[in-house]
Symmetry: none
Subunit: 206 residues, 4 copies
DNA sequence: TATGAATGAGGCTTCATTCAT
DNA sequence: TATGAATGAAGCCTCATTCAT
């Protein structure tokens, strides 16, 4: 069945292009990134890229969707583990720190899309933001079911948790803090959030 | 002394160009914005812009610096008023909401620069971020002097406060929440922060 | 002998490609026509077309030759019937009207080639023009043998007859006249030509 | 008043570009013609051409309109002179021969547009065809007023006259006849047409 | 000082053609 | 023989920047 092999090859090439594209887009942004250079770095011909993506914009969106999947999977993985809310919030924080560091290209591209001016990209990036909020909301509801906390508006609170986590890391990176430094803040930030939520049983009081 | 008058005229024109540039840059981003169109909207010749700014990039940076000054002034103004920490944090929050709404062009441009990929712009935008942190740190230290709170690392905490505030607003806007909705969150967010900080006297307990 | 069957198959495929090519070339012209699309419409692979034709240009020329054969056969058929010159000129006119209508793709392609700018194509198209003139010259000579007319320069006159017939139809089509309208002009145009030739016995005087 | 000088300069440049464009379009056709080469031949920068014409297509159309004006003026001039119908038809014929020879670029471009496949161009070229027919129809009506001829459908007859004249010349050129040869056919073709029209007083009978 | 016509580098995209399977 | 994925030359067009006026 060469069909399946071909299909696998095609998908592999697609992923490869997306990977190279992410590097270029992260380095230069959408407009300054050069399709020809992406093709060259991917080791394929200029025209070949158009066999996989309709145009530059679609390549960017495909890359964005791929990044979103990857990042969401990482976050879901971090929150999947059992533990009390404090632990899970720490995991969330650490997962974001890791993403920002290890997938910094993706992270940058994603943030650019989210807070940048291109509406088409923002729409796509926003989907991931919603997914993040949903995942965190679910964690909060579980904590609530276990009487760890009591909150009125779960979604807004989830947004607050996400914002704090993400933006804290982003700002810290912009200000030049090391990954080491950042990770050390995990417990503290989780405490901050828990206390902010008025957790019924605050960890350090146990 | 026509020299001074000329100098005033020149500065006025400069500000005018920056103002029009901000609109275009906010609308389209750095790359998609068109220098010729900015000149046209500013009512000056295409070449004239280069008598005020070396090139497109310098125009963008000049605009960024202007925005930074304006925004920082707004934030300083909000925090200048007397009151307890809760009140001041609410003011900080409200000031950001207003900025995001009333100076949305500037706000967008600034966020793009901060989280975007162009290093030159990020460097400039980061300066504002540092200034923000410094202002908030000062407020926190005052509150500490008044025994309202006790915190170890003032700078990190200030960053946390800023991150939460700014990112919360940014995310809420991306998710489509109205200014009304946002403003209603001021008290709640301030409480969240205060509790997170482990404030010695939590407002609702009074 | 599978050899012959193969040869027939090959020729059939060739004709099929030419047929589809004619539609595309007629619709879009040589440059805008897309080889890949022609292959697709012909139900064969992109590469296969190059097993039958050296390149796009040769495909176009082959198509042109095929069209020329078809059209010349139609004209010969129209003029083969017995009758006086008036009748035969009417038949000639009607044959062109039919060609322009029923084989409009071919007709368009042919006219484009003849009056277009590509020298290679014009050369090929000119061959058909010469054949047309030759066929009409023969008819004129027969009429002369029957004392229907007397003309000095048979070739030039034949060219005149062809020009008038063909161009009249072409112009009428360009101006949007219907096939019905055009066909009604057959007798009149034939008379016009005959009178123009100074026919010894003009039909309407009989 | 630099405005007028500038306006004249601008128009001169425009005409110059059109002139160079006509050569390239006549030589290679619309698709094969190269905008960059046209600019180079016109002695201007690549981008400059777009200050005068929106895009390649508009340049082609502008050129077509210019050609149409020029050709129609030539034809009108030829028919403006007094004289009987025979003389005027000869002048028409000679005018077309001259156009085909002296303005062969324009003539080719025009014919390509008229009989080619690009609809947009055909529409524009058709306008000239209508103008031609109108001018000839006017001449025929004058002749009719002078009792030189009697015709029922002036427009159709005018189309016939135009078709014969134009196509005869076109075909003769395609077949390689010299301008000398062609011009010698003027009287003969005019007679052919007059007789075809059933002129009341045929020249050779006088 | 102010202008805007002119420039040309640069980039996305198309598509005829090739070639490994 | 048939295929279609891959190629890369080629070209239209944009726009930041220059410079003569």
């Amino acid at each position: 069945m060469p069909k399946i092999v071909d299909e696998q090859m095609r998908e592999a090439t697609r992923q490869h292009i997306i990977h190279e594209a992410a590097q270029e887009f992260a380095r230069l942004g959408f407009d300054q990134a050069n399709i020809n250079l992406i093709a060259e770095k991917a080791g394929i011909g200029k025209g070949t890229i158009y066999l996989y993506f309709e145009n530059k914009r679609e390549l960017f969106l495909a890359m964005l969707r791929f990044i979103a999947q990857t990042q969401l999977a990482a976050i879901r993985g971090a929150l999947a583990q059992n533990g009390d809310l404090q632990t899970r919030l720490e995991q969330l924080f650490l997962a974001f720190v890791r993403l920002a560091e290890e997938e910094s290209d993706s992270f940058n591209v994603y943030m650019s899309a989210l807070y940048g001016v291109n509406r088409a990209f923002r729409t796509e990036a926003t989907k991931l933001l919603r997914d993040y909020v949903a995942v965190i909301a679910m964690v909060l509801e579980e904590a609530q079911a276990h009487n760890e906390i009591h909150i009125d508006d779960v979604d807004t609170t989830a947004l607050m948790v996400l914002s704090l986590t993400e933006s804290f890391i982003l700002s810290a990176r912009v200000l030049g803090q090391s990954q080491q430094n950042l990770m050390a803040q995990a417990t503290r930030t989780a405490q901050f959030i828990l206390q902010g939520l008025g957790a019924t049983r605050q960890p350090e009081e146990v």
